[in-house]
C-alpha cells in the first residue's frame, strides 16, 4: 500500500490532538494493533509537542508540518518546525535532558520516541528549525478472527 499526506497547522497545543488523530486515520487501513497505534501516537505527540513548546515557544504564528508516507506496512513520518532549533542535538537526546526544567518536563521525549520506533533521526541547528524523522513498521495482519465486513 502506498499513500502520502502532509498536515500543517498553527503551533498551538490544541492541534496536537488534531495531528495525532489525523496520523492515526492515515495508517488505519493497515489494521495495526492497539499497542502499535498507541506507540505511534505517543511518538507523534512527543515530537509535535516539542515543536510547539521548544521550537516555537508557543508562538501561535509558527507552523508545524507533519508529513507521512506509507510504503507497504512501513510508515515514514517527518515532523518539522522552523523554530529556534537545537544547539546540541546529542545532548538534547540524552535521557532526562530538558532545557525547560521549570515546566516540569521530563526530558524523556526523545528516549520515548526512540524506543517506540524502528529508526529516528533528528536534524536541527541553532535558529534553523528542527526536523524529526521516524520509521515504524506495523506487524503483518494475523489471521485469528474471521474477516470483517
Amino acid at each position: 500500500m502506498e499513500n502520502e499526506m502532509t498536515l500543517s497547522f498553527a503551533a498551538i497545543s490544541e492541534n496536537e490532538a488534531l495531528a495525532r488523530m489525523t496520523l492515526t486515520f492515515f495508517v488505519a487501513a493497515l489494521d495495526p494493533t492497539l499497542e502499535e497505534i498507541s506507540e505511534y501516537k505517543t511518538v507523534i505527540s512527543e515530537a509535535v509537542t516539542n515543536a510547539i513548546i521548544h521550537g516555537y515557544d508557543e508562538d501561535r504564528s509558527g507552523i508545524v508540518r507533519v508529513h507521512a508516507a506509507l510504503d507497504g506496512r512501513e510508515v515514514t513520518v517527518t515532523i518539522s518546525d522552523e523554530g529556534g532549533g537545537i544547539e546540541n542535538v546529542e545532548e538534547a537526546m540524552q535521557p532526562m535532558y530538558t532545557s525547560k526544567p521549570e515546566r516540569e518536563r521530563s526530558g524523556m521525549g526523545f528516549t520515548i520516541m526512540e524506543s517506540f520506533t524502528d529508526s529516528l533521526s533528528v536534524d536541527s541547528s541553532n535558529g534553523g528549525g528542527t526536523i524529526v524523522t521516524f520509521k515504524k513498521k506495523f506487524s503483518p495482519v494475523q489471521e485469528t478472527c474471521s474477516s470483517v465486513g
Binding site: 490544541e14 496536537e16 490532538a17 488523530m21 492497539l34 501516537k41 495482519v141 470483517v148
Partner: protein
C-alpha cells in the same frame, strides 16, 4: 439512541460523553480479554468486530481514554 448510533456510524463523531466513555470502557475490557486469549494486542479491526462498532469509533474512543485532557474532552462533554 437511534440518532446517536446513526451519527456514531457516520464517522465516529459522538456528541454524548456517555457513549464515548462506555465505548472506552468496552475497548479496555475487550483488549484485556483478547490479550489473555491470544497473548498479543488486538488489531483495530478485531476490536471493531468484537464490539460491533466502526473502526473510526474505536480510533476516536481509544484516543479519548488515553488523554482525557485532549480535544476529545471538549468534543464529548
Amino acid at each position: 439512541i437511534g440518532e446517536i448510533q446513526r451519527f456514531l456510524r457516520d464517522d465516529g463523531m459522538v456528541k454524548v460523553s456517555r457513549s464515548i466513555r462506555e465505548l472506552n470502557f468496552k475497548i479496555r475490557h475487550a483488549t484485556d480479554d483478547f490479550l489473555k486469549d491470544h497473548e498479543r494486542s488486538p488489531t483495530i479491526s478485531e476490536i471493531s468486530a468484537i464490539l460491533d462498532v466502526p473502526v473510526s469509533d474505536v480510533i476516536v474512543a481509544m484516543d479519548a481514554m488515553k488523554d482525557p485532557a485532549s480535544l476529545q474532552e471538549q468534543l464529548y462533554e
